[in-house]
Amino acid sequence: MSEAGQPANTDDWDSVTARREAEALIVDVDGFEGPLDLLLTLSRTQKVDLRKISILALTEQYLAFIEQARQLRIELAADYLVMAAWLAFLKSKLLLPPEPGEEGPSGEDLAAHLAFQLERLAAMRDCAAKLMARDRLGRDRFVRGAPQAMTTNRKITYTAGLLDLMQAYARIRTKDDFRPYVMDREKILTMEEALDRLRNLVGYMGEWADLMSYLPDGWTTDPKARRSATAANFAAALELTKAGKVEIRQSDTFEPIQLRRKDT
């Protein structure tokens, strides 16, 4: 698929023009964006489709370039030297028959990969140029010159129901002699107890309110008590729903369960 295996064609390289080009390259070495960029530029001297490029010839060109740069005492970044070493290795792989039992990719595979990298970089350069040549905003296409302020007024409404208010008041008024609910079975709220309590609260249930807001005080912090109270309250709420006293709803799985008085 590539001509990598064929002997190097160095005729071009020897021509005066090619030499001049190479010298120009050396003077411009700072202008290169790394060894791959240099390789891509060198490959243009082959004047063939990148898919048909001779990697071996390119390798020769690159190594010659590095050698010249050294003679001219131009300091080259380490990347360039690493690439040179790698290309020298590639060259030997391409020229020598594989050692029996050798592992790893063949010289042809490596050469094909390098050709692919060059083609890919060239393609990206092409794309970049096409991209920059598009009808661009602020150059060819324009936005509204006098945009109008579109405002979003974030209005915060605070929710508080009558129940919250009364519970808050009750909490304050009974703070002094407050003591947690003590029962025979600590931290267990029975369904009957929850039902009794909820039944009394039904009268104050106006709008949809979270079932959890009906948990008795002192049952909301301790996880065990809270779990029990939640379960009992839920069962009680179902009972009341069954009895037609309240309506119950849940918008989605794991969403809050809400209650309200059923108007009869």
Partner: protein
């Protein structure tokens, strides 16, 4: 390459078709930060253009549309149609739960109004931050009541009509008393030793009583005008 100058030269002699001029003005008015005058349009458009004529077409095209070509002084600009201004301002309502301090303060004002800040603090047992009171005032749930005729003439707080609306009450006196709260299961602890009958109609009857009569309401307004405490 050689086409471009020719084309340009050509346009020196032949003005673009009117429909094309209309497009140009449309783009110009759209992209310009300021209204554009006829002379400026002419200066920007290809030689021989007649912006005035094209503008007539453009204005007609936008008649009844969501934006309109408006004349501003002797210049022109796109403006949102007057009836669609409401689209530009958007209200986003966010619901938040009232803080415990706020709900407690509110409850105390509701049950004890008119009540001074010192009294609120006494009942809650903690100091009431300025922010909490401000928030409730901003929510339109409490307002300043008549000054208490005691040393320092402290300002009092009362609940508002909006408060009653929001909580679905006819009157703050309709709030259930402690006894009812207890019966409703809202008080988990044993009855306090204090007056079991204590509620909004408790021993502050007199104070509360005059809270909602017309005199008091009028007084409140006065208050706000000469209150230098705020």
């Amino acid at each position: 390459m050689s086409d471009a100058p020719n084309k340009k030269e050509e346009s020196l002699f032949r003005a673009p078709p009117l429909a094309e001029q209309e497009r140009m003005i449309e783009a110009l008015l759209f992209a310009s930060a300021e209204p554009v005058s006829l002379s400026e349009m002419e200066a920007r458009m290809p030689h021989g253009s007649d912006p005035a004529e094209a503008l007539v077409l453009l204005r007609k095209r936008y008649e009844g549309r969501g934006v309109q070509v408006a004349k501003v002084g002797d210049a022109y600009a796109f403006r949102t149609a007057a009836d669609l201004g409401f689209l530009m301002a958007r209200e986003q309502v966010e619901q938040r739960k009232l803080s415990r301090a706020a709900i407690e303060t509110l409850a105390i004002v509701a049950y004890h109004q008119p009540v001074t800040r010192a009294e609120i603090e006494e009942i809650r047992g903690v100091s009431v931050s300025r922010g909490t009171v401000d928030q409730l005032i901003e929510l339109d749930w409490i307002k300043f009541g008549r000054r208490r005729m005691t040393p320092g003439r402290p300002v009092t707080y009362v609940v508002t009509t909006e408060f009653l609306d929001h909580f679905g009450l006819e009157n703050a006196r309709d709030l259930p008393g402690l006894k009812e709260l207890r019966e409703a299961g809202l008080l988990e602890s044993r009855p306090p030793d204090g007056d079991p009958e204590e509620g909004p109609d408790g021993d502050r009857d007199k104070d509360t009583g005059d809270m909602f009569d017309d005199d008091a309401e009028a007084a409140i307004d006065d208050e706000l005008l000469d209150d230098d405490d705020l």
